[in-house]
Structures are given as structure tokens and as C-alpha cells.
């Protein structure tokens, strides 16, 4: 049908297309959903993106994705302790949501499989563009997740922790969350497991007027897993979103962050730390659209690269033509600690409005010798001195978060990473 000529399919592409054929009868969804799935697999049939696709410039998915595990119906992951004690845990175990979730006042939680079957979720399944391979992959295969609706004015006292856990095979999960006007919530998105799995996960957040949300993504996949994730958000009028991303695992990782300010006075904060070790390839790509006037954003990304790891940060700030008075700042700082590691960054600004203040900064360097000298002169040996400095470099970003319990929880995750990789 499509005359688009393609080079020969890679084994991974073939495996995905075959898997779709095999799984089709098992995938939930009404007619509208199934049509979206067909469109999505068509996009995959055109080939996975290569480095010639600008948004995948540093992550040649076609080349890097070389193993696609089969679906494993026997695999069953177990829930883990939430990072903040007392959180309401909503687990998705090997791609399946729990039928019995605890009730939270002011929050409606529905299994996503039900929303797929009744088709109400269909309009949100479209990938955002022809280069949205993660969106397409997820739409084709998504079977479950949760749909969460936080009612207007609800102020949650305890965080909600969404656990997407895998024990091998493939899991494709979607987590749409609507936060009503004036509501306040802390949501933790936990991505972990212990198998050589292929995981695709799409989170969609819509913030109503004046809502305030802190969303934490804690990604600690094993170093055999492929983790392809997307976080999409629309920030309404005077709403505030703080997104914290901690990337500390996986073999091939791509975390996309697509955020749009849709109401005046919207504010977005992105804080990210990427801890890269072994031979991981980890890519964080952000596209931020300032679509209306008077919105603000700041993004700070800190990266630590060790071993043979390859790290990528792409961050694009689009300021639309009528988005006057936008104030956007982005910084990406990298400590490259190994001669075998590499880090590539592409901080972009696309600006169509004239009355704006936008800036970005990016640095790549090793540990400052003066700092090292300062510590060593005080009797700290070199290894410890380096450890202290590296930890301080990333902890700085965590400490900026207001909530002390969250800061402590994240620092505990940080300590664990340093204990195993330090």
C-alpha cells in the first residue's frame, strides 16, 4: 500500500511486527482503539528512527534496539516498598494493573484496560508526530495501566506511587492522570524490575487551573532492560508542575519529556539527574512548548558519566509567536568521569516571540581540581574526595525540592546507586 521504500527490516523491527500479529487478539480495545493500534504499527513498519531523524540524532534506535524479548505470560513482578513511607501504591505488575486498588478520597482510579475496552481513552492514543517511536510502540501494544482523576480542590496528604514493575518479557503501560483545578498532589512514577525486558511507558498529565503537582520519575531498571518512556503534560492557567527525573539504570533508556504550557501563569520546573554506569545508553529528551503568554520554566539537568556509558540530553524550548513575556532557562551540566564514556547534548531554543527572556547553558567537564585539592588537603583521600564531590554535584538538584520527606527518599536512592556503582 505504502510505496515508501525501506531498507531491510532489522530483527527487532521484525520481532515487533510479528509480536503485534500474535498479540492482536489479546489486546483490549474497542474499534476506535484498534484503529489507533493499526496506525501505530504501520508507523513501526516504516522503520524505527535512525540518527538521520533529528530528534533521535544521538540515539539510533534502529541500530541500538537489537533484542526484543517475547511476551512472557509467566513473568510476575512483585510490588516493592514505596520510596516515601505511607504512600498509596498503585502497582502495574508485568503490564497488568491491580483489580483491587485502595480508595483515596477525592481520587477516582480506573484500570486502563477498561478505558481501552470502552474506547474513552482512544483520542489520547495518537503519537505526537511521525518521529514519535515511543508513542507508536506504546499505542500499538498498550494493554493496561491506570487512569487517575484527582477531583477539583483535592489536596492529597500522601503521595501516590505508581509502580511499573517488570520481571522480563515485554510490558507496555500507560498512565493518564488528570489533576483538577486547585488540587495538590505528589505522584511518584517508579520504573524498576529484574528482567531483560522491553518496557514502554507513557504518562499523560493534565493540570487544571491553579493545580500544583510534584511528579517524580525514579527509573532503576536492571542493566539488561530497554526502557522507552514518555512523560507528557499540559499545564493550565496558574498551575505549577515540578518534574523530577532520576535515571539510574537500564541498558538502553530513552526518557522523553513533552510539556506544554496551556494557560497564562503556568510554571514548569524540571530537575533531572542521570547516573550512568556500565555500558548503558541513556537519553533524556525534553521538548517544552511555551504556547501562551506569561509562562515560566526552569530546567536543570545534572549528569554523571562513568564506565563506558553514553549519555544524551536534548532539550528544546519552543516559544510560540504569541507567547510573549516567556521566561525560560535551561542548564545541563555533566561530569564526565571516564575516558571510555561519552556525553552529547543539544540544548535548543526556538523562539518566535520577541518579548521573552530565554537562555540555556551547557557544560561538560571533569571534577574541579581545586575542589579536589581542598578536600585532600584536609586529609580526605582521593577516592572519597571524588565521591563527595560527585554526590554533592547531583544532590544539589535534589535538595532544591521543598518537601523534606521526598528529599530524604531521593537521597536514599542516590546513596544506593553510589553504594553499588561508586
Amino acid at each position: 500500500m505504502n510505496m515508501h521504500t525501506q531498507p531491510q527490516r532489522t530483527p527487532a523491527e521484525t520481532a515487533l511486527i510479528d509480536a503485534f500479529g500474535d498479540r492482536l487478539s489479546l489486546l483490549p480495545g474497542d474499534g476506535a482503539v484498534m484503529l489507533k493500534r493499526d496506525d501505530a504499527i504501520e508507523a513501526i513498519k516504516h522503520g524505527l528512527p535512525t540518527r538521520r531523524v533529528e530528534s533521535w540524532h544521538y540515539t539510533d534506535l534502529r541500530r541500538l534496539l537489537n533484542v526484543v524479548p517475547d511476551f512472557d505470560p509467566a513473568a510476575m513482578a512483585k510490588t516493592i516498598a514505596p520510596i516515601v513511607e505511607g504512600s498509596t501504591v498503585l502497582p502495574v505488575l508485568n503490564g497488568k494493573s491491580d483489580a483491587k486498588v485502595p480508595g483515596i478520597e477525592g481520587v477516582a482510579v480506573q484500570r486502563l484496560s477498561e478505558k481501552l475496552i470502552d474506547g474513552t481513552i482512544a483520542p489520547g492514543l495518537d503519537p505526537y508526530g511521525s518521529d514519535d517511536a515511543i508513542g507508536a510502540l506504546n499505542t500499538a501494544f498498550v494493554a493496561d495501566g491506570y487512569f487517575i482523576d484527582i477531583a477539583d480542590g483535592t489536596e492529597l496528604e500522601k503521595p501516590i506511587e505508581l509502580q511499573n514493575l517488570q520481571a522480563g518479557g515485554q510490558t507496555h503501560v500507560r498512565l493518564p492522570v488528570r489533576v483538577g483545578a486547585g488540587a495538590k498532589a505528589v505522584i511518584v512514577e517508579r520504573q524498576a524490575g529484574d528482567g531483560a525486558a522491553l518496557v514502554s511507558s507513557v504518562s499523560q498529565l493534565v493540570l487544571g487551573e491553579g493545580a500544583e503537582v510534584t511528579w517524580l520519575i525514579v527509573q532503576e531498571q536492571p542493566d539488561t532492560a530497554t526502557h522507552l518512556a514518555q512523560f507528557k503534560a499540559h499545564i493550565g492557567k496558574n498551575a505549577k508542575l515540578t518534574l523530577f527525573v532520576m535515571n539510574a539504570g537500564g541498558k538502553l533508556v530513552r526518557q522523553e519529556v513533552m510539556v506544554k504550557t496551556t494557560g497564562e501563569g503556568a510554571d514548569f520546573k524540571l530537575r533531572g539527574i542521570n547516573l550512568l554506569a556500565g555500558d548503558t545508553h541513556s537519553d533524556v529528551t525534553m521538548v517544552l512548548d511555551h504556547a501562551v503568554p506569561h509562562t515560566t520554566s526552569t530546567e536543570i539537568i545534572r549528569n554523571v558519566v562513568t564506565g563506558k556509558a553514553r549519555g544524551v540530553f536534548q532539550g528544546r524550548i519552543n516559544v510560540h509567536q504569541y507567547a510573549q513575556k516567556t521566561n525560560a532557562k535551561m542548564a545541563c551540566n555533566t561530569l564526565l568521569l571516564s575516558d571510555d564514556g561519552e556525553f552529547s547534548t543539544k540544548p535548543e531554543l526556538e523562539i518566535f516571540a520577541d518579548d521573552v527572556v530565554c537562555g540555556h547553558g551547557a557544560t561538560v567537564t571533569e571534577i574541579d581540581h581545586d575542589h579536589l585539592f581542598y578536600l585532600m588537603a584536609r586529609g580526605v583521600d582521593e577516592k572519597n574526595a571524588r565521591g563527595l564531590l560527585v554526590k554533592a554535584f547531583v544532590a544539589e538538584v535534589i535538595e532544591e525540592l521543598d518537601d523534606e520527606t521526598i528529599v530524604e527518599a531521593l537521597e536514599a536512592r542516590l546513596d544506593e546507586w553510589f553504594a553499588t556503582h561508586g
Partner: protein, 505 residues
């Protein structure tokens, strides 16, 4: 105060679509038939009296070009170019091989006079010392030791004249058109041509390799500091022609040369193609400074016409402690697609890139640089200032990379954009790639409009708005203007004033 007055007067006089150099000159022309084929390439090669290896080189590039696709990644939009609808060779009919100014068609000299280019008259006006009697007709009393510029004037497809050749030859410097170099110094050309920008480099560079018609050649031998500034002035005159010039500059061990380049074209409704290749080679301890003031016809206020400027410029710091510095002022062209780059191959070599890109009307600029760190202790510096006004799109696209063995690579990048008006766009697309832990890269970019506070501060002191803006803009680009040789700095400042006219208020 006079300087400020001068700015206003100039800005008032010249409208956005009144391109000063838009005149066309009627000159008898020798043209190749329209279109591109192996025959045309043979024709060009024969016209230039080229040796057979050169023809082979061209044909190989042409065959390669046929297999390539036009790149589409740049942030520019234009209708597809019909490469068969272009004249690839146009030369003013003239006596064969003009050796002195008196042999040159007076019509052409008039063109350069109109453009204010120091060929003959300019030299005399500037009170330049006359050393090469055959080059000048009138004697001059004033003797200046400084401020001399040797010029190679390229008109459509051929170099019409090169001044000061004899004096340069005394110093051992070869400065001539590339066609002449191919005939007279084949060993040098064969050794270096295509060694920085290979024939297979990219679509336009490959096209250029196949059909290039002229350009400048500079060779500065070991230990020589070139006694004067060298300069090439490109003029596109004929309708429907493409200009494909090729410049090759070689600085041997310890040599130094400063080279300036300027360009203009007549005002026409059709778009014209300009696809040049510039190659610089710096050996041990050599330094090359390359400055460009690009002022091709930018099209009219509605975005009709103008030059497509698709240029490949690359410098190779081949030797240890060598240095290459690019400075560019980009005000012209409907579309600019240009990334003067440095390959820092030698240990302790350094590269610099200073750029001002001003876009107005419907101009589209996608420009920047590449700094490829390969050697040890290499350093690079990028200062880019983009000013977008009207309906224009101004993009900085740059790459800094440190390879595995490039220990202690250093880079500092600063790109600032200034937006004037709410219909234009400014974009920054930097790529940073570090594969060495001792690399130290810093990048910063800002975009803003002229702040009301700044403007208020200046206006409050009795300076009207347009002047205030001119003052602030000139302050904004000062870092780059300072890098230009004196003669160009003045011209550049004027050009910026002209390009921004009509964008205020």
C-alpha cells in the same frame, strides 16, 4: 555625535528593500549552455585550459553528485532548485588572461568602482604605495605602508584581476585565481585541493567540486608573514547563473595570512545559486585569519528574489600550534546555509569563530560552526550574535566535539540572539559531544529583545529611539566587530545599520 548622525541619515535614506548593490551591468559575456552534464564540465575544464587530472577530478565529483540528495535538515524553506536551469559558466568576454588592470574591460572596473572595491581607483584614493607599475595607471604621491590590500576580483565565473601580485611574489606569497594556480602550480593544488573538503563531502560541496569556475588561491611559504591583507571580491552579474567559486589557502610552517572576502549581486526577481567551497590548511605554528562580509542580494521586502548561499567552509589546523580564525558578518542572501568549521588536528591548535548574522525581510539564515577537537590541548572559541527582524528566521547551528584522544580540549561558546519585532524567529541548535573526560566545554545562549530599561536609559539622555537601538545593537555585536580588520569593521557596522532599517517601531 557625527557617527550617530551618520547612522540615522543612512537608515533614513535606505529602505529595507533598497539594496545598494543591486545594479546590473551590461557586459559581453561568454556563456556555457544552460544545464549540467559531463559535457558542460568538459567545456568548463577546456575553457580554463586545465590539465587532464583536473578534469578527471571534476568528473568524479559530478558522478558522485548524481548519487546524492539535497540536504533538508537546515531550518530553511525554499522551492526546489532546478539544477538544469542554471548557467554553470559565464565569463565576461575579455582579452585572454588579463595580466594588468589596463587589460580589464572598463565596464567591469566601473562595477567594482561602484561597489567601492579597492582595485585601481580605490588604491589611489587610499594613497596606496605604487610598487607594481603595470597595475596602476596613475602615480600617487601619498605613500602609506599600512592599509594596503591585495585584491582578487571574481566576476561571475572568472577572476578578472588580481592586484599586487608582484610585490607578494617578492615575499614568496602566491596569490592568484585558482584557475591560474591549477595551470601554474599544479603540484600545490593537487596536494591540497579537496584535502579539507573532499569531493564527496556534501551535496553542494560535491556540486562545487564538479563545476567550480574560479576563486582564489593563496600560498604562504614557511616562515613568511604575508605583508598585506589579501582580499577577494565576488560579484554575480549574469542572470540565471550560479556562482561556484573555490578558494584554497595554505599557510606553511610559521606563516601568517589575513584574508578578506566580500560579495554582492544584482537585484533580481529570480533566485540565484551560490555554492562555494573554501579550504584552509594551516601547518605547524601557522595562522590564518579569514574574514567575510557577505552581502549578496537578500531579496525584496516581499521575499522575492535573492541569492541562495550554500557554502562549505572548513579549515584544517593540520600542524601543531596552528590557529584558524573565522570572522563573518552575514547580512545578505535570501537563504544562508553556512558553517565555517575548524578541524583541530594538530596538538595545541586553536580555532575561533566570530559571527554576526543579521536577517530582515524574509531572509533565512542557518549558520554556525563546527569545532572538531582531535589533537591534544586544543582550544576553540565561538562567539555568535544573531539579530532577527521583520519576518526573518535566524538559526545558529553549531557542533563542538572532543574525540577520545583529544585530551584537555577546551571550548567556550556564546551565542546570543536579539529579536526585533514579533514576526521573526531566533533559534539556537548547538550540538556538544564529549568523548574525553578531560574535555571542558562551556556553552551559553540567550535570546532577548532590547530591554526597555536599556532603551530608556539611552533615550533619556536625549537620543531618539532609532539611534538608541542602533547604539545598543552595535554594542551587542561589538565582540565580533572587534575581530574584523579595520576596513571591514567600518563596512560591517554600516551594513548592520542598513539591514535593520525598517525594523524599528
Amino acid at each position: 555625535m557625527p557617527a550617530v548622525q551618520d547612522t540615522i541619515d543612512r537608515v533614513r535614506k535606505i529602505d529595507v528593500d533598497q539594496y545598494k548593490y543591486g545594479f546590473q551591468t551590461e557586459i559581453a559575456v561568454d556563456k556555457a549552455p544552460k544545464g549540467l552534464s559531463e559535457d558542460i564540465i568538459r567545456f568548463i575544464s577546456a575553457k580554463k585550459d586545465e590539465p587532464s587530472w583536473m578534469l578527471e577530478w571534476r568528473l568524479e565529483a559530478y558522478r558522485r553528485w548524481l548519487t546524492l540528495e539535497e540536504p533538508t535538515w537546515a531550518r530553511v524553506n525554499y522551492p526546489k532548485i532546478d539544477f538544469q536551469d542554471i548557467y554553470y559558466y559565464a565569463a565576461p568576454k575579455s582579452t585572454p588572461g588579463p595580466t594588468s588592470l589596463s587589460d580589464v574591460d572598463p565596464e567591469i572596473l566601473k562595477v567594482y568602482e561602484k561597489l567601492g572595491i579597492p582595485l585601481k581607483e580605490q588604491e589611489i584614493l587610499a594613497g596606496v604605495q605604487k610598487t607594481d607599475a603595470s597595475d596602476l595607471e596613475e602615480p600617487s604621491d601619498n605613500v602609506y605602508k599600512s592599509g594596503r590590500v591585495a585584491v582578487d576580483a571574481v566576476f561571475d565565473s572568472v577572476s578578472v584581476v588580481t592586484t599586487f601580485k608582484k610585490e607578494l611574489a617578492q615575499a614568496g606569497v602566491i596569490f592568484c585565481s585558482i584557475s591560474e594556480a591549477i595551470r601554474e602550480h599544479p603540484e600545490l593544488v593537487q596536494k591540497y585541493l579537496g584535502s579539507v573538503v573532499p569531493t564527496s563531502d556534501n551535496f553542494y560541496a560535491t556540486l562545487n567540486s564538479a563545476v567550480f569556475t574560479d576563486g582564489s588561491f593563496v600560498f604562504v611559504p614557511k616562515g613568511v608573514r604575508c605583508p598585506m591583507e589579501l582580499s577577494t571580491y565576488f560579484r554575480m552579474n549574469e542572470k540565471n547563473t550560479g556562482q561556484f567559486e573555490r578558494t584554497l589557502i595554505i599557510a606553511e610552517e610559521g606563516a601568517y595570512v589575513s584574508y578578506l572576502e566580500g560579495c554582492t549581486a544584482p537585484q533580481r526577481d529570480e533566485n540565484q545559486l551560490h555554492a562555494a567551497v573554501v579550504e584552509l590548511v594551516a601547518l605547524d605554528d601557522a595562522e590564518i585569519k579569514y574574514s567575510t562580509v557577505q552581502n549578496w542580494y537578500p531579496g525584496d521586502a516581499e521575499g522575492k528574489g535573492g541569492i541562495y548561499n550554500f557554502v562549505t567552509k572548513r579549515g584544517d589546523c593540520r600542524g601543531h600550534r596552528s590557529k584558524i580564525s573565522w570572522t563573518q558578518v552575514e547580512t545578505g542572501s535570501a537563504i544562508t546555509w553556512k558553517y565555517p568549521s575548524c578541524i583541530l588536528r594538530g596538538d595545541d591548535s586553536s580555532g575561533e569563530f566570530y559571527s554576526i548574522a543579521v536577517s530582515n525581510g524574509y531572509q533565512q539564515v542557518d549558520s554556525g560552526t563546527k569545532m572538531i577537537h582531535l589533537g591534544k590541548n586544543t582550544s576553540s572559541r565561538i562567539i555568535s550574535k544573531g539579530i532577527a527582524a521583520g519576518f526573518s528566521q535566524n538559526t545558529y547551528r553549531g557542533q563542538v566535539s572532543a574525540h577520545r584522544k583529544a585530551t584537555n580540549a577546551r571550548n567556550f561558546t556564546n551565542c546570543d540572539s536579539l529579536l526585533i519585532g514579533d514576526q521573526c524567529g531566533a533559534h539556537t541548535v548547538p550540538y556538544m559531544e564529549a568523548k574525553n573526560s578531560t574535555a571542558q566545554f562551556e556553552h551559553e545562549a540567550t535570546t532577548s529583545k532590547i530591554s526597555e530599561d536599556q532603551k530608556f536609559y539611552v533615550m533619556q539622555r536625549g537620543i531618539p529611539e532609532e539611534e538608541a537601538i542602533a547604539l545598543i545593537v552595535n554594542g551587542f555585536v561589538k565582540d565580533v566587530i572587534q575581530q574584523l580588520p579595520m576596513e571591514f569593521a567600518v563596512e560591517a557596522q554600516k551594513l548592520i545599520g542598513i539591514s535593520l532599517e525598517g525594523s524599528v517601531g
